[in-house]
Each structure stands twice: as structure tokens, then as C-alpha cells.
Amino acid sequence: MDMSTWKILLVDDEAEFINTLAERLDIRGISARVVYDGDAALKAVAEEVPQAMVLDVMMPGIKGLDVLQRVKEEHPEVQVILLTGQGKTRDGIEGMRYGAFAYLMKPLDLEELITTLGEAISATQGTPHA
């Protein structure tokens, strides 16, 4: 799978975390856009629909789950991987119900994230709508 063609959007209010994550992905040939809140995420999706987005659940402003809902309403083909620092709580279960592809916990295992992204993008490519 050619990871360089992946269109990824990273959303987290923890700038240090998400920038470093983007940089590490970049080292592995995966380019990703980075935004730091829900509004910016919706705007970024409107500008260019990503194949997959990594979305933090707990953010100031629009919450991760609201972003998920709105993205899924407009672009159901976008695969969303939820991130949380609180484990598989009710938010996670809720997120999966709104159509999240996966639910990962901080601190991340990068290899696990890349694998999950691969699976998500494969799923996107498999959807007739895409």
C-alpha cells in the first residue's frame, strides 16, 4: 500500500502532541494536515475531504463526538479514528455508534495507529461512494 497517497487529517488541541505525531508520520511517508480544534477540523474537511481523520474526543469548543457526527453526516466515506486519554468509556462506545472506525487510547502506539489508518483507508477505498 502506498502510504504517500493517503489523505489524513489530524485533530487535537494538544499541539505538541499532534505536531510531533504528524512529523513522525511524515518520516514514514505519510503526509497529514494538522488542526487544533473542532471548528478548524470541519473547515479543513470542507476544503478537502480526507480519507481518514484522527480525532481527539476531549477538545475545547466543538467536542470530538460532535465533529464526528457532522463529518459523518456530510461525508460518510471519511473514516474517523477517535483518540482519548480516558480509555473505553461511554464516549468511545457512543463514538463507535456514530460510525467511528476505531477507538485508540493515548499514549499511542504509532505502529498500531498506522495499521489502523491502513485498514481505515482500505475500507474507504472499498466503499462504492469513494
Binding site: E16, F17, L21, R24, G85, P107
Partner: protein
């Protein structure tokens, strides 16, 4: 009385407010309530018994004294009648015959014969002239010519006209009484007619009183000298061993203590025209024999009543105290459980917050360290690459360790819905054992299964039960040395519960550790544990409606027993 009751009630109230876990509280409370109830119930009984006793004794005394008084009165009249008849007879002869007629021996003999025939008791009869000389005499002795002018009785008859003497033995050595009557004619001539009476008739009157055995009746003069024989105090003319109680002509009963210490009732009355007092004696033990029998019956009833009341009071109080104790313990247990649940809940919320707050910076550290490793990997000429690689690995290992801790904390905070299904606990136990078999094998720990084949299936949560088993088995495995032994048992405990025990022969626990092992954050594993495992276990078992017990002895081992309900529990 009111003060005693209110102060006792106040102390009982104060005792009830004291710390319910304080030793001896219920013992003290039981003692005080029993005392108060016994006081309240026994006091009226005691008063009633006392009043009853006193009244009954008074009634009995009156019932004993009245007949004795009547008897003495009757016997006194008999004596008076007897003596009055004889005095009248002598007086009649003295006045009916002239001095000359009475001076004739033959006449006196004839008159005496008639007297003896008409009146019993006369022994002799004699005529004495005013100078005191016996003129004629009819009787068993030769007393003619004897002069009585110097004797006291002659002086008295001259003065009073009639005289009845005290009892004396006389020449014949048996008791007599003398009756003397003076007669004076219109011409001024006077003489004295003197008759002697045998006192045998006195004895007959006394015997006719019909006093019971132990009782006594006799005549006594003013000086306390016995005039008739007494069963208790001696023979005729003996001195009475005690002072005669105050006496008058009406019969009167008094209680007297004899010199030998015996208590007696004494009824006395003076006999008219004599120096005699009639005395009847009835010992109290004889008189009160019926009362004593009744008293024993009353005492028996009273003591039985007291014993029954006391036993009933003690029994009822014990029952109440036991119920109170049980209720207090249940309340304490409920409070403790609630506190425990609240503590768990607060800690859960805290753990979730802490985990979230830590996970974000931890994620940054993780990514930064990962980036450093990535950059270093991209540059083969990176100076001191291996040294840096070791530092980065150390950072990442620490991040992993922290992640493990925060994940466990989140696991504790998790409040998953309980999913109840019918479970074969033996199967769940064996399944859970599968996780640990490799470690046990490696450490040569023997895993013994003593599982009841017919253990009933129970409704419970598979995942949570497995977590409980795993937590306890993990602890057991950590406690045993290499080559140790862990025994798993299941059995049908009761109508409502099945039991599972996990026994190890490991290091065991001190009492202090066993007491605190279910408290959150209590751990003996230092850095290896969060101190939440057994607390979670406790919470799950409680939530599933079960019980968990621990029995442990330091250096001998620990047995954890879980009771799970056979039927679904609400909540």
C-alpha cells in the same frame, strides 16, 4: 422512686448513644434494663407480699387471741361461781344456826354431812369463838381447842366478814383453800365459821378449758406464787419464773418472752373476791403453726414469682438486646458498605480524571521520544547513537509503565453494565486458570482442583466473575514460593449460595493486612501494584450480591472464599 427510675432511664439512654462497637456496651445495657425492669415489676410484688404478710399475721394473731381471751373469761367465771356457791353455803350455815346449835358436835357433824352431800370440795368445818378458839370441829383432824387469834386470816375475817385464803398444803400435805365467814347476831354475839376446800376442783375447771398440747393454765396469787400445778412453770407454791403482766378483772391477752427465750401468748384475769389470777399460756409456735404453713406457701409463691419474673425479664431483655445488636451490626455493615462504595466511586472519578490528565502529557512524551528515535534512525552518523538509543528506550519503557498504571486506574473507574447470564462456575474457574497455567508450570506450582461435579449453575456476569477469579489467583500465585500449592474448591454452600475458595500455602498475611486488603490503594506489592485489585474484586462480588471472606495466617497461607447467590439479586 421517681428519681431512681428517671436516672436509670437516663443512663440507659446515654448507654444507647455510646459507640456501638465499644465492648461491653450491650452487656452493660442488658444489665441496666434487666435491673430497671426487675425493679419496676418486683417492687409492686414485694410491697404486695409485705403488706399481705403483715395483714395476715395481724389477722392470725387476732384470731388466736380472741378465743384465748374468751376461754380465760369463761374459766374465771367458773372459778368465781364455784367459790361464790361455797362462800354462800358457809355464810348461810353461819347465819341459819345459833352459836349454841353450832357448838354442839353432833349438830355440826350433821350439818357438815349435808354440806358435803350438796357441795363438792369441802374437807372440814369448824366453829371459832370471838377469842379465836376452835369450839367444835367436824373433819379428819382433832383441831378442837386450837387458838387462831394470832393468825392473819382470823384478823382479816374479823375485819372483812368473809375471807378466802391462798392455797396452802396444811397438815395433810395436799393443797387446800380456807373459807371463813364471821356472823354477828343482833345482840352483838359473833362467831366465825371456817371451812376448808380441796383444790382438786380447781384442777377440774382448768382441765375443762381444753387447752391444746404445749399450752398451760393455772392460778397464781399477787406474789407470783402458783396456786395450782403448772405444766410449764412448776408445782403448787412454786414461784412463777417471770413477772406477771399487768392484770385486771377483764381477761386480757399479751405477748410475753419467757426467760428461756420462748415467745408465748399469756391471757390473765383476776378472780373476784380472791387473791388469785387465772393465767392461760399458749406458745406462739403452737398458736401460729397454721400461719407458719401458710407463710411457707406464701414464701414459695413469692420466690417462684420473683424467679419467673426475673427469668422472663432477663429472657425478653436478652432477646431485645440481641435484636438491637444485630440491627446495629447490620446498620454498621450497611454504613461501612456505603462508605466503601462511596470511596470507590470517588476514587473511580478521581482515577479517571488523573488518568486523562496524565495520558495527554504522557502521549506528548511518547511522541517526542518516538520522534527522537525516528530522527536518530534516519541519521547513521548520529554521535553516540547507542547511548541515546538506550536513553530513549528507557523513556519509552517508563511511558509504557505509566500507560499500564493509567489503564489499570481507568479499569477501576469503569462502570460497565453488568451482563447477567447463567454460568457454570467450574468452567469459568478452569478457563481463568488457563491464564496462569504457564506461569505455574514454569514455577513448579501445583494447581489442585477440587470442584464439585454437581455444582448448580448461577446467574452472574462472566467477565466480572473471571476478573474476580483472576485477581485472587494472581495474588495466590504471587504469594506462594516456587514449588508451592494452590487448591481451588467449589461446593454447594446453602439453599441460596454456592461457594468458591482459593487456598494457597504462601506467605499469608498479618491481621492488619487482612483487615485492610479490600481498601482502595492498599498494596503490599510496592511498585508492582496499584492497590486496586482486591478493592475491585470486593466491589464486583458485592455488586453481584455475593460475599467475600479471607482467612489468613502469616507464613502458613491464605484462603479466600467467595459466596455467590444462586438466584438473581435486584440492584
Amino acid at each position: 422512686m421517681k428519681n431512681i427510675l428517671s436516672s436509670t432511664l437516663n443512663t440507659i439512654k446515654a448507654d444507647m448513644d455510646t459507640d456501638i462497637s465499644s465492648p461491653g456496651r450491650y452487656r452493660l445495657l442488658r444489665r441496666k434494663i434487666v435491673s430497671l425492669m426487675a425493679l419496676v415489676t418486683l417492687l409492686p410484688l414485694l410491697s404486695l407480699a409485705g403488706i399481705n404478710y403483715y395483714e395476715h399475721q395481724n389477722t392470725m394473731t387476732a384470731e388466736i387471741q380472741a378465743p384465748l381471751r374468751a376461754l380465760v373469761g369463761k374459766a374465771k367465771h367458773s372459778f368465781e361461781l364455784f367459790l361464790a356457791e361455797r362462800i354462800s353455803a358457809v355464810s348461810f350455815i353461819a347465819s341459819a344456826y345459833s352459836f349454841n346449835e353450832l357448838s354442839d358436835d353432833a349438830n355440826l357433824q350433821r350439818i357438815f354431812q349435808v354440806m358435803r352431800r350438796e357441795f363438792t370440795g369441802f374437807v372440814d368445818l369448824g366453829l371459832i369463838d370471838p377469842t379465836g378458839r376452835q369450839i367444835t370441829y367436824s373433819g379428819p383432824y382433832d383441831l378442837v381447842g386450837r387458838n387462831y387469834s394470832e393468825q392473819a386470816w382470823f384478823q382479816q375475817v374479823q375485819f372483812k366478814g368473809t375471807y378466802v385464803s391462798d392455797v396452802f398444803l396444811g397438815f395433810r400435805k395436799f393443797p387446800h383453800v380456807v373459807i371463813a365467814v364471821r356472823h354477828t347476831t343482833e345482840s352483838g354475839q359473833s362467831w366465825v365459821l371456817r371451812a376448808t376446800l380441796d383444790t382438786m376442783h380447781f384442777d377440774r375447771i382448768l382441765a375443762a378449758m381444753g387447752l391444746g398440747p404445749g399450752s398451760d393454765a393455772f392460778l397464781v396469787n399477787h406474789h407470783g406464787v402458783l396456786q395450782t400445778e403448772s405444766r410449764r412453770y412448776g408445782r403448787v407454791l412454786d414461784k412463777l419464773p417471770f413477772e406477771l403482766p399487768p392484770t385486771n378483772f377483764e381477761s386480757n391477752v399479751q405477748s410475753v418472752r419467757e426467760p428461756d427465750g420462748q415467745n408465748v401468748f399469756i391471757a390473765t384475769a383476776f378472780v373476784a373476791d380472791t387473791d388469785f389470777a387465772l393465767v392461760a399460756v399458749k406458745p406462739k409456735p403452737t398458736a401460729f403453726s397454721t400461719w407458719y404453713t401458710v407463710r411457707i406457701d406464701l414464701l414459695f409463691i413469692f420466690v417462684s414469682g420473683v424467679v419467673i419474673i426475673f427469668l422472663a425479664v432477663y429472657r425478653v431483655t436478652s432477646l431485645l438486646i440481641t435484636r438491637l445488636q444485630e440491627s446495629d451490626e447490620q446498620r454498621l455493615g450497611a454504613i461501612h458498605q456505603m462508605e466503601h462504595s462511596q470511596k470507590l466511586s470517588s476514587i473511580g472519578r478521581l482515577a479517571a480524571g488523573v488518568a486523562h490528565e496524565i495520558n495527554n502529557p504522557l502521549a506528548i512524551i511518547n511522541e517526542k521520544a518516538g520522534l527522537m528515535r525516528d530522527i536518530m534512525g534516519l541519521r547513521p552518523d548520529f554521535p553516540e547513537k547507542e547511548k541515546f538509543a538506550r536513553q530513549i528506550e528507557a523513556i519509552l519503557r517508563s511511558v509504557d509503565r505509566c500507560r499500564g498504571i493509567t489503564h489499570r486506574m481507568l479499569g477501576f473507574a469503569k462502570r460497565m453494565d453488568v451482563k447477567i447470564e447463567v454460568l457454570d462456575l467450574n468452567a469459568v474457574l478452569v478457563e481463568t486458570l488457563g491464564f496462569l497455567e504457564r506461569e505455574a508450570e514454569y514455577r513448579n506450582v501445583e494447581l489442585v482442583r477440587e470442584l464439585a461435579p454437581d455444582l448448580p449453575n448461577v446467574p452472574s456476569d462472566h467477565g466480572q466473575i473471571q476478573q474476580v477469579f483472576l485477581n485472587i489467583m494472581n495474588n495466590a500465585l504471587a504469594a506462594v514460593p516456587d514449588g508451592g500449592r494452590i487448591v481451588l474448591r467449589t461446593w454447594d454452600e446453602s439453599e441460596n449460595f454456592v461457594a468458591i475458595s482459593i487456598q494457597d500455602n504462601g506467605c499469608g498475611m498479618s491481621d492488619e493486612t487482612a483487615k485492610n486488603m479490600f481498601e482502595p490503594f492498599f498494596t503490599t506489592k510496592k511498585e508492582k501494584g496499584t492497590g486496586l485489585g482486591m478493592s475491585i474484586t470486593y466491589g464486583i462480588v458485592k455488586r453481584l450480591g455475593g460475599e467475600i471472606k479471607v482467612m489468613s495466617k502469616l507464613n502458613e497461607g491464605t484462603t479466600m472464599t467467595i459466596l455467590l447467590p444462586k438466584h438473581s439479586v435486584e440492584g
